[in-house]
């Protein structure tokens, strides 16, 4: 379990950002990941009081506050109707309902975990993150950025008419994915996919060529070998197109 000396319920994003500039301080998401660590922090900064636990849908986009839980994503009708249940499919295997009622979109994206279903899913959409310091950056760019002391305010997902399908393979339900693929067909017919759990930060790639996986690096660990992952990625992409057909 992680520990800290002081707790601050932030009154504004500016205050949270300022406090977070100190290396020993930490932002609290749903504490799912933090809890696994044994680190001791100075001040824990809670963003719970800033109304960032809402998904706001407009004609053009979804604005998803950083404190929105994965369970909210799973159950949101607008989000799942727009993207063919891809969001639900991406999160429904993560640990259990009780866990998804706690862990957040902010913590999931900021962590940029190499196993992340959440990052893989939103990367295949026209997504942006709003950061207190750097402003709005595309999720594709954010996924490549090194860790810094910024604060993620919200995720913005545009409704641009693309069709999306999420596929993952797990050795066992509720375990980390062995490989995850989120495929999208844009309105102009262009086909792209994000591939996560290779296991490395998810990346976006073009999938027009037969041997599209050659551009990517796959790794081996206790769950699967690099070769197996590459093989599965191709199969999952195929399944995604079948679903979208």
């Amino acid at each position: 379990m992680f520990s800290f000396q002081q707790y601050v319920l932030a009154e504004s994003l500016e205050q949270a950002y300022e406090l977070n500039q100190k290396k020993n301080n930490v932002i609290l998401g749903g504490t799912g990941w933090l809890k696994l660590g044994k680190k001791s922090y100075g001040t824990a900064i809670d963003l719970s009081g800033l109304g960032l636990d809402q998904i706001i849908e407009t004609e053009e986009e979804f604005s998803i506050g950083c404190m929105v839980t994965l369970r909210q994503i799973e159950l949101h009708k607008g989000l799942n109707d727009t993207f063919g249940n891809a969001c639900k499919e991406a999160v429904r295997h993560i640990v259990g309902v009780q866990f998804r009622n706690l862990v957040t979109v902010g913590g999931s994206l900021f962590g940029r975990f190499g196993f992340s279903d959440v990052l893989t899913c939103f990367l295949a959409m026209d997504s942006y993150v709003e950061l207190v310091g750097k402003g709005v950056v595309s999720l594709e760019e954010f996924a490549k950025m090194p860790y810094d002391r910024d604060v993620l305010v919200r995720l913005i997902v545009k409704k641009d008419g693309r069709k999306v399908s999420y596929q993952s393979f797990r050795n066992q339900s509720t375990d980390f994915p062995v490989i995850a693929v989120c495929a999208a067909e844009l309105q102009n017919g262009k086909k792209i996919a994000s591939v996560g759990a290779r296991p490395a930060r998810a990346v976006l790639c073009s999938v027009e060529n037969e041997d599209w996986t050659k551009e990517l690096t796959f790794g081996s660990n206790m769950r699967a070998s690099a070769e197996y992952r590459e093989f599965l990625a191709k199969i999952l992409l195929q399944k995604a197109w079948e679903e979208l057909a």
Binding site: Y7, V95, N101, L102
Partner: protein, 154 residues
């Protein structure tokens, strides 16, 4: 840190050390049904209801209970007894260690899902681990319980 919340129907105002997990805090208040079965957020034994939603009390902090309503098995005796009877009918429990968290999540499920399919039941309860059984007795007990509820027997 000062917190004020409702625990099993009673208002509680208390001073907590800010990095205390909700689980340890609830046990210190006498809620011994709330147990720790793992260190990795995987077993579900520590499940409590926070504003009606099932959450892992091992994974969240006591300060996050501020302003909320928390229910543990101690506050849900009627529902627990009702469902417990169905578990007993099936002889579902072996050591019974997984039981409190499991019952909490079954109660949460019956509040949230209307007439769930077998697949939906399994998915809702995937975060509750049992080391002894093969879950089959549990599943039968849930199905019988749901049927009894729908048939107006409960």
């Amino acid at each position: 840190m000062k917190i004020k919340f409702r625990l099993n129907g009673k208002m509680v105002t208390d001073e907590v050390v800010a990095d205390t997990p909700l689980l340890e805090y609830l046990r210190s208040k006498g809620c011994y049904s709330v147990k720790r079965g793992c260190e990795t957020s995987n077993c579900g034994l520590c499940t409590v209801l926070m504003d009606g939603k099932p959450v892992l009390s091992c994974t969240t902090l006591a300060v996050r209970a501020d302003g909320k309503e928390i229910l543990t098995l101690e506050g849900l005796q009627k529902e627990a007894e009702e469902f417990g009877g169905f578990l007993a009918d099936q002889g579902a429990d072996q050591c019974g260690f997984c039981n409190p968290g499991f019952i909490m999540n079954v109660i949460a499920m019956t509040k949230e899902l209307e007439d769930p399919t077998e697949e939906e039941i399994k998915e809702y309860l995937a975060g509750n681990l049992c080391r002894c059984t093969g879950y089959q007795g549990h599943l039968r007990a849930i199905q019988a319980y749901l049927e009894a509820k729908q048939g107006g027997i409960l």
